[in-house]
């Protein structure tokens, strides 16, 4: 925030994460609709009677008042708008919430990502309502890739741009899309992608959410969708996304416990 602007300003924000700072303070990473991702300081948040603590947990949608400071702006007041309580009480949804927050964090740098604010908010609301989790999370992954300029090519070959039939498609994770039979020899590290996985991803990429959320997804298909999308998200982020591994482990455990 520029020191020439107002000394105190208000903004809506979604808390992406927290980390320890000096004394009883923490650095809070927030995403705002105007300034994108930014770090700010919550002083005294570790004290038992802090008026900020409950309002700045990761995944909270809140109203903030911040004071401009030389380095990191200081959070003076915080008021929760929504904590997405249903998501907080379900392991699968909570882990998915942590995953989408980590995605936004990894795909943005300070001062960018303001155009991810509304998609993230909508995703957190859908997650809280418990709508088709597969459509919510993979739809959001595809939105992030689109907004950050990494839209995967799901209809055309990434090399020759020819339209590819879903039955004969090969998949290139590093290339970010499908490869036709003629080009498969020139693109390294391709693998087959199952026809129904590609069809569902195409629907998540281009259909309105209400329609794509009606697609029935069994656990086997969801496992394949997750593997493809997690691989893609890690490849473009160029670093590990730890919560993706946790999400896969929890999906597997949940499936086991459900028989």
């Amino acid at each position: 925030m520029s020191s020439r602007g107002p000394r105190v300003y208000s903004t809506r924000a979604i808390v992406l994460g927290q980390r320890e700072f000096v004394e009883a303070a923490k650095v809070i990473t927030i995403l705002t609709p105007d300034a994108g991702k930014q770090d700010s300081v919550a002083k005294g948040i570790l004290k038992p009677k802090s008026r900020l603590a409950g309002h700045l947990e990761p995944g909270t949608y809140c109203d903030l008042e911040l004071a401009v400071a030389r380095n990191l702006d200081i959070i003076r007041e915080a008021q929760t708008i929504s904590r997405f309580r249903s998501s907080q009480q379900n392991l699968m949804r909570l882990t998915t919430l942590v995953y989408v927050l980590e995605l936004v964090d990894k795909y943005t740098v300070d001062g960018t990502g303001s155009d991810l604010f509304e998609p993230l908010l909508v995703t957190l609301e859908r997650l809280d309502r418990g709508t088709n989790l597969s459509a919510v999370v993979h739809g959001f992954e595809l939105t992030i890739l689109e907004i950050t300029g990494f839209r995967p090519s799901l209809d055309q070959c990434i090399h020759c741009l020819s339209i590819v039939d879903s039955v004969q498609a090969n998949w290139s994770q590093d290339g970010g899309g499908i490869v036709c039979g003629s080009c498969v020899s020139v693109i390294p590290d391709t693998g087959l992608i199952e026809s129904r996985v590609l069809k569902v991803l195409r629907a998540y990429q281009s259909w309105p959410f209400e329609e794509s959320a009606r697609i029935a997804i069994d656990s086997n298909l969801e496992g394949q969708l997750s593997r493809v999308m997690h691989g893609l998200m890690k490849a473009f982020a160029e670093r590990d996304i730890k919560s993706a591994d946790l999400l896969e482990e929890i999906s597997w455990r949940t499936e086991l416990s459900n028989g």
Partner: protein, 215 residues
Amino acid sequence: MTFGNQGPILGNTNPYGGSSPINRLVSAFHMLPGIGPRSAQRLAYHVLRSPASEAQELASALLDVKENIILCESCQNLAIKSPCNLCDDNGRSQDLLCVVEEPLDVVAIERTGDFKGNYHVLHGVIAPRSGVGPEDLKIDELMKRLRSSGDTIKEVILATNPSTEGEATALYLAQLIHSLDLKVTRLARGLPTGSDVEYADIDTLGRALEFRHEI
């Protein structure tokens, strides 16, 4: 911030030079959690003004904990022997196990005097953003302990913090422990003593209303 001989924490105005013992001590205090540069300076100057015997006692206590403190093989808490005094205490209820994030949480719960069961310390919470996954915590040890306890342990109290990471860890553990057919409970949540209802966050207030009790 730099440590030791690598550079001055006191900035360009440091009158002692980067490698001075004072600067080294300030840097060492600054490495501690919750200690900012000014607090580190205050502590260093306090040590300087104190008698040499106090400084020796401090240095000896620091070395002592590093050399003599171990993890109790049962509860994973910090201890001077294994099993620790708490695990060795036959007067404690063996059917209750309280799972906490950190050793300091044991101290806090013991201070209440209201809990007479045993503990298990996880040494952290699942925090993917910081690169901490379930495999980095003492979860395998917990599950091994529960499986080998037979019918002794009847209830596991999940006392991780009511933060996003603490909740995720509690839900993760609950899923694992339910497969052993044990009762799993979570610490109640509500308003802290001396707080203002007006400033409470909606989650805390909502849960305080949900778990209200008759008086």
